[in-house]
Symmetry: C2
Subunit: 337 residues, 2 copies
């Protein structure tokens, strides 16, 4: 399918010609960036992890229109489960999938049964072992949709963000995480952080429970309101800040003492994480509907273990209730402007 696309052939030639230059199409520059970022994140986390290395698996889709690399650590000393995945896909979107994908429900897409598209992105979830250390997620992606007749790009957009899901609340960690990402947003637009922070609380919400998944971060979908160049600068500013946003927190928390009761609460919170990803996450839905999707890469975001207790309730005035209250009433951790 991809091999029929003129852009696919053209891109293969450019890739074969050595490192991607700044005048190459944005899709190739983004692809090169997320691959490099994946490497840096994997190496940065391996330094904290100690002896265990990420298991790196490259894959190709049978129709040659997609490839990627998934890096996973499982049962490490620091990480219970952590995965960093990069993918590059040339394929066709069904009408339903196009509607699933675009936040505005595909209104600005041409009304055709199938639309050729390109997407590249990095997606990552880390669940540390120690209940004092928060789970973290990031995802940055770039889409192009092509005219089915001419093969010319019709639409492009960036999407993504990063967010933190603590099991126990450390306010200083929340402030640190949000401050780092605000710095990146402010490079491009002083309104971005406030908008993206709000988006994040709205999107990463277990609506059926009336609580957010975590303490937020930044999130944006279908972003095309600045030049591609400016938005690529934003993406890189955010992506480059992942290690400084998270590693200092991980280093402070991963060796703190903890009890069996804290692990039980962690398992309950892991269950809520599974609920969000399987019930509400548009990326997961989109992935599982893509023909020949690599299920292992899509579901690598799930924790190693999770627990569902009937009528689970936190004790009043406990550390567990402190977290729950923040999830029910999202806070501004730093001034929005």
């Amino acid at each position: 399918m991809a091999s029929k696309l003129a852009v696919y052939k053209q891109d293969q030639l450019l890739r074969a010609n050595g490192p991607i230059q700044n005048d190459a199409p944005m899709r190739l520059r983004m692809e090169a960036y997320v691959k490099d970022l994946q490497n840096r994140i994997v190496e940065g986390i391996e330094k904290v992890e100690g002896n265990k290395k990420f298991e790196r698996t490259s894959w190709k889709r049978p129709d040659h229109g997609g490839e990627g690399m998934t890096c996973v650590i499982q049962d490490g000393q620091v990480m219970e489960k952590a995965g960093v995945a990069v993918s590059v896909v040339y394929s066709e979107l069904s009408k339903e999938a196009a509607h699933q994908m675009r936040h505005d429900r595909g209104k600005s897409l041409p009304d055709r049964d199938h639309l050729p598209f390109f997407v590249t992105g990095i997606s990552q979830v880390m669940h540390p072992k120690n209940p004092n250390a928060p789970t973290v997620h990031l995802n940055y992606r770039y889409f192009e949709v092509f005219d089915p007749d001419t093969g010319m790009p019709l639409l492009w957009w960036f999407g993504g963000g990063a967010d933190l899901t603590p099991i126990y609340l450390f306010e200083e960690d929340c402030i640190h995480f949000h401050s780092i990402y605000k710095q990146a947003c402010d490079l491009i637009d002083p309104d971005f952080y406030g908008q993206f922070k709000k988006n994040c609380d709205t999107y990463f919400c277990n609506t059926h429970r009336g609580e957010t998944r975590g303490i937020g971060g930044v999130f944006f979908d279908d972003l095309d309101t600045k030049s591609p160049e400016d938005l690529f600068t934003l993406i890189r500013a955010l992506g480059d800040r992942f290690l400084p946003s998270y590693v200092p927190i991980l280093e402070k928390r991963h060796a703190m003492p903890y009890t069996e009761a804290m692990v039980e609460w962690q398992q309950i919170r892991r269950g809520r994480y599974v609920e969000f990803n399987l019930i509400w996450d548009r990326g997961t839905k989109f992935g599982l509907q893509t023909p020949c999707a690599r299920v292992e890469s899509i579901l690598m975001t799930l924790p190693l273990t999770a627990r569902w207790e009937y009528m689970y309730q936190v004790k009043p005035n406990s550390k567990e209730e402190e977290l729950e209250s923040v999830l029910k009433h999202p806070r501004d951790w730093i001034p929005l402007h």
Copy 2:
């Protein structure tokens, strides 16, 4: 909302007049049946469980249009987690919910923004501790949709079924389970078992994994192709057979010896159960979209614990592979006719 419905007031009067008679509206006869069945199932399983009793919780919806009872055992000797829930709801369906609910996507429903409806049903999942003992699910429900202007019933249908999800395969258990339900189906129509068995394999399928949830059973949706009286006979024939379909299997398996490795496989299978219920199950989706739904009752079907290992693979020629192969290639356990 419900209190505005004439049928609701009329039904409340009938309920106050003592036991429901055979000439009462079907919705009240079905309600009485599922409440009685819940009692019998709870008592039947308590006999196997030993000393631990189900925790019984009655609930009412704040707008007085819904009530129910949820019975749960958690961390028992035999049951890791088992829940039997009954509910009776008078409410209004949004257009989306009506489409979600009807298997034929609501085609035969009038095109109105809100449709008053009634539903009563029993829903039950049991996850035993011992990996040799299978998980079992059943659900029987009766719907009526009313004309929003006249309040008269417009449409009615029954739905439901029962299915078995073993962790390890015992062919004799599969044959026993299917034979019992075939007997019930054959009372009404010799074609029903074959149709319902096929429905069950098609519906309880983790499409993204290319495997069914379990070894099947019977399942039907939107059934209104016989008289209400005949279908109510079918529902009772099926419901009454739950204890004979499952208790003999449970008694054979719950005290068999097992290893830690078998528990790990059980945890992986629990993860697949969670995937089906949260990604694919229409009942769960419908429930979580219903305003003021009781989330605890909807999600009581989830196992106590589950596990997701990246790139998990069963060993060739193992007992685990034997099960997986049956899930990838559903079998006819008994002749369909």
